[in-house]
Symmetry: C2
Subunit: 413 residues, 2 copies
């Protein structure tokens, strides 16, 4: 199925039921180390050769050791493997956490026979508890022995990084562009906002591609694409101590990304993969009953439009109204008005789906039954026109339901 | 009962069961205009003479006409009456809203025989619906005829401004200071975050005092006191289109507030009144089961400490954990870490009540049963020490319960 075809001639096609090992030059494995009940909880993603890497990391000051460690390695520009575990975040445990994080890299490097400085580490799960290293020591060699390449392994990796996610989140695409010779592949896997003792909503995401792209260019493209995708989703405004999104580029397709046109098309394709994963995370937000797209148009800058969209998307009053399928335009405009962005409310307008609910400063003259029916769908869109410029931005979120409270209040550390 | 006695010798004593007319020189009335079901919904607060006034107003760009109108009058420095109604916010209805707002002031001025420019207007309730002016026209003369001075009237005024508040919020205090001759009085009434179709959480608050203080000084003192009280509460981070907090000073006590010491003591007393009302609003937040005090100490500035405290107080993950009585220090520290304030997590510490839950970067070594028991109380305190300076700030909030979702999702416009 064609995901999107843009004016340049780029065609991005989803290849169903495949994932992280679909791009050429990657293998993976997932095992059950015993870090979280009885499920898969430890995975390795491995490139055949050291290859360019890029990454973005949580901005939270309270960071797990995996974050500064992997950030430092990404700055080197080359990596070959990712160690990832769920069930234990290895955060807020003091100096032992740093030592255990290093040992995760060491164990992986030893088992794979590659330099330790090529092994990135990502962890998610309970914070404030020491990583049970005896379990990791037993599991890593087993994982390394099982390294392979299959659709089953892809699904296992997607399962292994889940915490309380209800759905696996993976995608693989084939891309063709007139600006490059042949077909290249991009795949990604992510975990969403799950809840772990004592918990926070953690996002981990890993992307592989067989494009031939330098690490500097990959980092620039990845950072821009993240700004428009992962940085545009919000479940509850809380940022984790462990977030990271890494991309490895094997170059095995033999397609160089060098000309400006080739770069632009690669960025678009990567953005589509990241957008898919980001929306899946929003859709599977804790207690969510629907995916909500908040579009703000008519802004003076994309940054300002995004700020307004994010304020609406994070408003508990808006999110509870969406859960209740109530076309509560007053809450939408009140959230827009407090976003810290200048606009003239008497020129602004708003829509729920295609139904205009606020027209140049005056709200309320619309068919509220139709709006209520529209809001009962599993995907809904809110649009606000600030009428102060030509820039736009989109943010994705979910609603707040009883289950959000249930998941987050009834859990006990 | 003595509310507080500070080092300067100031004594502030609460006078039970009285309210807005307790200070000398004020009368009030409340009537049922029919704007909200069958309850009192329109009140007048009237000074015997024109007197100095100060006010703070919502920063939301989407404002009801009452906000810029009253803001303009407050800038003149003198006022004599406040018209306030609940049940209809008179917001987002176009130019007719401006005309209706002016007519509310005109009707009040006519009935009281005072200049229209001395009548402030405050409205709260449904937005997006025209004010039923025929009801207001009938009610204002009735209210003016009933203007008086009694504890029953005080309670009626507190009731008339409520929307879905569960409790009336009023206070009256007598204050003595060695820096002024005799006793002066301050009283206040407020409405909290109630939910009205299509709704937002609105705060209105009115304060009277018989201190003799100029309007410029009153405004400076009021603004500072508001910053430490009303601007330090948060229920859900949403700001209304109609918020205002007004203070009228009759001077009828004959006590001039002029020396720096007299000013300082008056500011402290006013702050105590505002703090009481602010905490009552937080305690009565939608669905709240407990009042939560978030103290941040060891900040580089009061502003930074307040920013961290507010981020913790607004975190849905923290608020749901508090509802669940779960001593979830991970969520508290993760919120602190994303507040945008620089500090070293490895030096920071945190407490739930008196129980230290995070100690210089390491969390989790505490009696979680004792912390759970502590969190079952109706008033709880969280403390975070940033260990980067000597400044502190306090923010008040409430927890997020099923009822928050119920109140805000099950309502239909």
């Amino acid at each position: 199925m064609a995901m999107n075809a843009v004016a340049s001639g780029l065609v991005v096609s989803v290849v169903p039921d495949t994932g992280i090992t679909f791009p050429l030059g990657f293998r993976a494995a997932a095992v059950r180390a015993g870090l979280k009940s009885k499920n898969l909880d430890l995975a390795l993603i491995v490139a055949d050769q050291p290859c360019p890497v890029a990454g973005v990391f949580t901005l939270n000051l309270v960071k797990a050791p995996s974050v500064p460690y992997s950030e430092r390695l990404v700055k080197n520009g080359m990596a070959q493997a990712i160690f990832v575990n769920a069930g234990n975040a290895n955060a807020c445990v003091g100096p032992q956490g740093d030592a255990d994080n290093l040992e995760c890299a060491f164990l992986t490097a030893s088992a794979l026979g590659i330099p330790q400085d090529f092994v990135l580490v990502a962890s998610t799960g309970v914070i404030g508890r020491l990583m049970p290293m005896e379990k990791v020591r037993a599991a890593v060699p087993l994982a390394a022995a099982g390294i392979g390449l299959s659709t089953e392994i892809d699904a296992d990796v997607a399962a292994a990084i889940m915490t309380t996610d209800l759905t696996q989140k993976q995608i693989a695409v084939e891309c063709r562009s007139p600006h490059w010779q042949g077909t290249l592949r991009i795949a990604g896997v992510a975990k969403g906002s799950g809840m772990i003792a004592p918990n926070m909503a953690t996002t981990l995401s890993f992307v592989t591609t067989d494009a031939d792209v330098s690490s500097d260019l990959l980092q620039a493209i990845h950072s821009r694409a993240i700004d428009r995708t992962f940085n545009r989703i919000t479940v509850d405004g809380d940022t984790s101590t462990n977030d990271m999104c890494l991309v490895l580029a094997s170059g095995a397709s033999g397609i160089p990304i060098k000309s400006p046109e080739a770069m632009a098309d690669f960025e678009t394709a990567l953005e589509q993969v990241l957008q898919f994963l980001a929306k899946e995370i929003a859709r599977d937000g804790e207690g969510a009953t629907k995916l909500v797209t908040v579009q703000v148009v008519g802004g003076r800058s994309e940054e300002e439009a995004a700020k307004v969209a994010k304020t609406i998307a994070e408003s508990p009053l808006v999110k509870t109204a969406l859960y209740g399928c109530d076309p509560n335009w007053g809450r939408i405009m009140a959230a827009a008005g407090r976003a810290g962005v200048k606009f003239d409310p008497d020129k602004a307008s708003a829509w729920i789906g295609d139904i205009q609910v606020f027209n140049h400063g005056v709200g309320g003259n619309f068919d509220s039954d139709a709006a209520n029916t529209y809001l009962k769908q599993s995907e809904v869109t809110l649009t606000v026109d600030l009428a102060s410029g030509d820039e736009a931005a989109t943010v994705w979120t979910c609603d707040y339901s009883y289950d959000y409270i249930k998941i987050n209040a009834e859990y006990h550390t």
